[in-house]
Symmetry: C2
Subunit: 211 residues, 2 copies
Amino acid sequence: MNQVAPRKTSANRAKVEAKILRAAEKVFAQKGFSGSSMDAVADQAGLSKQLLIYYFPSKEFLYHSVLRNMIDIWIEKMTFVDDPNASPAEIIEAYIRQKIELSRDYPNGSKVFAHEIINGAPVLKDYLLDHLKPQFEKDIQLINKWIENGQIRPIDPEHLFFTIWASTQTYADFSTQIQLLLGKPKLDQKDFDRASDFLCHFVLNALGAQK
Amino acid sequence: MNQVAPRKTSANRAKVEAKILRAAEKVFAQKGFSGSSMDAVADQAGLSKQLLIYYFPSKEFLYHSVLRNMIDIWIEKMTFVDDPNASPAEIIEAYIRQKIELSRDYPNGSKVFAHEIINGAPVLKDYLLDHLKPQFEKDIQLINKWIENGQIRPIDPEHLFFTIWASTQTYADFSTQIQLLLGKPKLDQKDFDRASDFLCHFVLNALGAQK
DNA sequence: CACGTCTTTTACCAAATGGTAAAGTGTTTT
DNA sequence: AAAACACTTTACCATTTGGTAAAAGACGTG
């Protein structure tokens, strides 16, 4: 039957699986699903292709696992925190900062999603419809309420989200371009802070939202 | 029986090449370079793989041709029009609108670039350094002058560009997601107009730029 | 130590991939 | 009409791809 102690082998397996998922995330981030090979993932993870296949029996399963590993935290950060006591400015500022943190902390995850969406979201489409869209519509309503109450300027709430998503995720997805133009080999904490500060001021000014 | 002037064969070749480039753009847009096969491009163009290879002797050459085909118009639209008589608001509004038009008119080109940049810009890096960066730095200076003159609020000019680029290109690159959330099978002219209007108002308000 | 279970390696394989070679067809030029 | 050129098809090929099968090793438990 089942062991009481967390069976040494299982513990090991979890570690190997985590290592593989990190490696796969990196490879898929660069080349997308079709452009990535199991061999490349195995190399990146430091094991043989056959062993990789032992842990993840197919490329599709591996890809789905990578997505599943990120999707919940991802969608959570794409929706507002529901705090009825906070002001619009506070909610939006917290929102922007957490999105930038996501780009900083999970650049590969962000790129995997970017590939998936550019590709037409063949895998994530249903999930986005079921989980992101309802949240999105709720958040739209909240923004419309703010507009009705005169708390922010009247703007197109849908496009506000598209703009915030795009301009926060660009620090992950297009980091190469940004590094190139800033003349930096890599974006550091200061760059992300500047990005957050810029975007918060920018968006709050655009909305005419007082802190 | 046949035209003498612009050598019938050459004229035909130009047409076939154009057809192939359109097809390749579409395929590369979906899967990126490594994810695309010559077979897929040939299929999309409606000819045999061998014939495709006759016109474009290698996949790399085809990819480079696709990029070369877009890059100049692309970089041109990423830089300000130098009109010393126009106000900041006018320049920026024109800039945003032309970027949105680019997303509307060349969604596949935009996605090919997106793949290329996400991938680390292996092909375009040098070109961006040589052509985009100098223009970028010139435009930064112009914005700093506006700030000094009190024509717009003081903001981080670099990040202003990153935000405008991201939020205009998202209507091409992430159109799947936007369609999904707007509940539309395709973005139409009205959607692009709304996006332009939103972004112009949004950015000009954020900058405190009077029209 | 012998047993079953989990892990790793070795050996293979059919399909897809980018590409070559050359034969055949059509068209233009001399 | 013949030579020269441009286009298209057919045949082929080495490598890479995702994946299977099974043997060999590692290891804790009875």
